[in-house]
């Protein structure tokens, strides 16, 4: 365990952090990465941002998530890293972004502490159903690891995976849900948003609905990624609520990224778009993508996250997600899609398609 990792672990273990302490730690992590991560150092120098000049966490260069595809962003040599999480490659299918973790101590501490705070307040265990492949099946998926952690640490003995190589195990899941109903024991169903869509469709075809006991919740994440039909958010959460008999405030959404080591949660999706909140060791800004400066409050912008748990890669990342800052978090307003070509000059996307013919 490196010194910096221990310090982050200590900070995560605290109940909160002051602005000054967050700033000091962020600058420390930045200096550490500047020293030990050569591509990042060159990236910062290209922008004239060095630890000597950067005085606030907001001024740390935000690295676009595409850099995880093009550069090796790791302080530890990659071959000495215990785990590498890879992006699913939805935008540039052929190239995957890589996020190296020397070990998972900090990642796990971050996940467990925040999950406990936002998803499991006031309880330690629940029967947990996972709609996603196991960690063994997808060793490079951060989501598979996340869900495995959730099941191991917060799931009781009846918790199970309802997804195998053939896909969703709908019958087994129905059986588990019925049991939960009979015993009046709360049940939590976790998985990728698109798995939920497939599940809703499958249950609808069988005309099956459930009324899960009070205290049950659903947690979806990741959006549809072209893996299922795209549904408007309001319809999606309504369908979840109707199918499983769980109020919409218990339909939680986790916003996470392979490029981060900390997740964001909302407090249900009764009102859309829901407010996403982070933990005390991650802070977000809504920025103008061109200047990297924060937009005026109330304006849409691109989300940048400063995640202290990202101690080995880059502490601040620039996403491709459009967001709006609100009082105690932010709302997500979708992805900054390639601008629609207005006229007769060829747009990049169209050109790439044309070049493939």
């Amino acid at each position: 365990m490196t010194a910096i990792a221990s310090e982050i672990l200590d900070l995560i273990a605290q109940p909160c952090v002051s602005d000054d302490d967050f700033n000091a730690m962020a600058l420390k992590v930045f200096a550490h990465q500047f020293t030990h991560n050569v591509p990042f150092q060159r990236y910062c120098q290209q922008r004239g941002k060095t630890p000597r000049l950067v005085k606030t966490w907001q001024d740390i260069p935000a690295v676009p998530i595409n850099a995880f595809k093009d550069l090796t962003l790791s302080c530890e040599p990659p071959d000495r890293c215990e785990r590498v999480f890879m992006t699913s490659g939805t935008t540039r299918g052929d190239i995957k972004g890589r996020h190296y973790h020397p070990n998972l101590a900090v990642y796990d501490a971050s996940m467990l502490s925040h999950f406990s705070q936002r998803v499991m307040p006031g309880r330690s265990k629940i029967t947990l159903g996972v709609l996603f492949p196991t960690e063994q099946q997808l060793p490079n998926s951060s989501l598979a690891h996340y869900l495995a952690l959730a099941k191991t640490h917060f799931g009781d003995t009846q918790s199970d995976y309802f997804f195998n190589t053939e896909g969703l195990r709908v019958q087994a899941l129905c059986h588990a849900l019925e049991q939960a109903q009979q015993r009046q024991e709360p049940f939590a169903l976790l998985g990728a948003s698109y798995s939920f869509v497939h599940l809703i469709d499958a249950l609808e075809a069988q005309e099956r609905r459930f009324t899960l006991p009070t205290g049950s919740f659903l947690l979806d994440t990741g959006g549809f990624k072209g893996q299922s039909r795209e549904i408007p958010m309001a319809d999606f959460y309504q369908a979840l609520s109707t199918t499983f008999g769980v109020p919409r405030q218990s339909c939680l959404n986790m916003y996470g990224m392979t490029e981060l080591s900390t997740q964001f949660y909302d407090a249900g999706n009764q009102i859309l778009p829901s407010i996403k909140r982070g933990a005390h060791w991650i802070r977000s800004r809504v920025v103008d993508p061109l200047t990297g400066q924060a937009v005026t409050p109330g304006q849409r912008g691109i989300l940048a996250h400063t995640d202290l748990a990202n101690y080995n890669s880059v502490v601040t990342i620039l996403t491709e997600d459009v967001g709006l800052e609100v009082e105690d978090g932010f709302v997500l307003l979708g992805r900054a899609q390639g601008a629609q070509a207005k006229g007769c000059s060829l747009a990049v996307d169209a050109f790439l398609k044309a070049a493939q013919r």
Partner: protein
């Protein structure tokens, strides 16, 4: 005409024979996010469109087909003169509203509109017609052919235009072309710029009341079934847009209808070492910058990349620096329009992608910083043609010789259009020949890329000839007719 207030709504369109209150108006929010302007566009029912089509066909048969080309040119030239007059209310409407609707800088719009209108003055219109018809009278009557017989060119009864909204006043080309061949026209304006065609139609009807029913300007949503009604009754459909949009239009057009698509294009510039003397280079860089700045590269003729030959006294890298400098100085004169978050994000991703390459490649540079409203990427290695995210983002690639360029752009053959050149006279035709072979259809001086010459062959096609139907009376008819003369001996 008073300046529009904040809640100003402009009613676009031109609908002869239809009352405003009988039409459904669709409201479009246009302009910069912080200074929106509302424009209402007419959305007709099938019945209304059908009646309008009949009316236009009838009127153009009566009033347009019976006019000589010379008289038509006279009317069009009068309209141009009106629009060139800064005091004219129609021109003032355009000067006030076009910048608001498109977000482009008012001075840029005004200057470019004036230069653009000059290609539609009397002399230029004559040239426009002569470009396609050596004897323009062929549009008025049967004219004798050198090989015997007679020929007349007939314009379509109904020409449907589907316009794009990237560059203000773009519809004028096809609007004028349609009138020159005496076609009745229905034009569908783009949601992004519904203004110019509407104002122009009103001006024409104002100048020549007999034309009042000869054309219409309207709008329909892309997936509207109504458009089929328009396509069904047209002889020619002329459409601008992306390939997917054009495909959607083509799918609705009867096979017997002529379809003239103008898809998205990619253009570029080439600078020879001969132009890179210390004396000339700054001027050339400024011309290149102007081509980038005008309409923020939204035009089909706007450059995506510049190929610059090494070996001149100013190196390609120095040229790239001069170009960046010129772009920065033009920002004061013609500021870039406000970008949407999506456009800004796209530019930032493009710039970052190039920065990542530059981290590992000493021959690669991203000039300038994030606070600037332009981005110049320089590659010392010759690179294949790459599209730009537009809005003043440009790649400068060094080449050892200008003859390399044809190979570097070949992969975009189907999408190539204009090349702006800065070369010596001795090189001009040899490079042009290579570019022509590679698929380019227009070659002009650097600095002129956004101002096509009157009568240009847009995308390599004929502006007027493509619209008409030639009717031949063969020599045999004349010979045989002679047999039936009443005064035969």
């Amino acid at each position: 005409m008073t300046a529009p207030k904040n809640d100003y709504v402009f009613k676009a369109g031109y609908l002869p024979g239809l009352r405003e209150e009988d039409v459904r108006w669709h409201k479009l929010r246009l302009g910069a996010p912080d200074a929106p302007i509302w424009v209402e566009v007419p959305e007709l029912t099938d019945v209304q469109l059908d009646a309008l089509t009949q009316r236009i066909k009838q009127a153009s048969r009566t009033h347009l087909k019976t006019m000589s080309v010379a008289d038509i040119i006279g009317v069009l030239a009068k309209a141009t003169a009106r629009l060139l007059d800064a005091q004219d209310p129609y021109r003032q409407t355009l000067d006030t509203l076009l910048p608001k609707v498109t977000g482009f800088d008012p001075d840029m719009v005004r200057l470019n509109l004036t230069s653009y209108l000059q290609t539609f003055r009397h002399l230029e219109l004559e040239r426009f017609v002569t470009e396609d018809f050596a004897n323009p009278r062929v549009l008025d009557a049967f004219v004798p052919r050198i090989t015997g017989g007679w020929t007349q060119a007939y314009g379509p009864e109904l020409l449907v235009h589907v316009w794009a909204g990237n560059v203000p006043a773009l519809p004028m080309w096809s609007f004028v072309a349609g009138l020159l061949v005496k076609a009745g026209s229905i034009g569908k304006v783009a949601s992004a710029e519904p203004l110019f065609a509407s104002v122009y139609a009103r001006l024409l009807a104002d100048i020549e009341p007999r034309w009042a029913d000869c054309f219409a300007v309207l709008w329909w949503p892309n997936d509207a079934p109504t458009q089929r009604t328009a396509y069904q009754s047209a002889q020619v459909v002329l459409a601008y847009g992306g390939n997917a949009a054009l495909q959607a239009v083509q799918d609705q057009i009867p096979v017997t209808t002529r379809f003239l698509p103008h898809g998205h294009k990619i253009s570029l510039g080439v600078v020879s070492a001969q132009a890179l003397t210390v004396f000339h280079a700054a001027h050339v860089a400024m011309q290149a910058a102007l081509d980038v700045v005008r309409f923020d590269q939204q035009g089909c003729y706007s450059p995506h990349m510049f190929y610059v030959q090494s070996g001149g006294s100013v190196s390609p890298y120095e040229f790239a620096q001069q170009l960046a400098h010129a772009l920065a100085s033009l920002q004061h004169k013609m500021p870039r329009r406000a970008l949407s978050l999506e456009e800004a994000s796209q530019i930032s991703r493009w710039r970052d992608a190039h920065r990542f390459i530059a981290l590992d490649n000493p021959n690669y540079h991203v000039l300038g910083d994030s606070t600037q409203t332009h981005a110049v990427v320089f590659s010392q290695d010759a690179t294949n043609l790459m599209p730009s995210p537009l809005n003043r983002c440009i790649v400068v690639s060094a080449v050892d010789h200008v003859s390399q360029v044809a190979t570097l752009i070949e992969s975009a053959r189907h999408d190539l259009q204009t090349v702006g050149l800065a070369v010596a006279p001795e090189e001009l035709l040899s490079i042009s020949e290579q570019l022509g072979l590679a698929g380019v259809t227009r070659i002009c001086a650097l600095g002129q890329m956004t101002s096509p010459a009157p009568g240009w062959h847009h995308d390599g096609r004929f502006s007027l000839l493509d619209l008409v139907r030639m009717v031949d009376v063969e020599a045999s008819t004349e010979r045989e007719a002679d047999r039936f003369k009443p005064y035969a001996l």
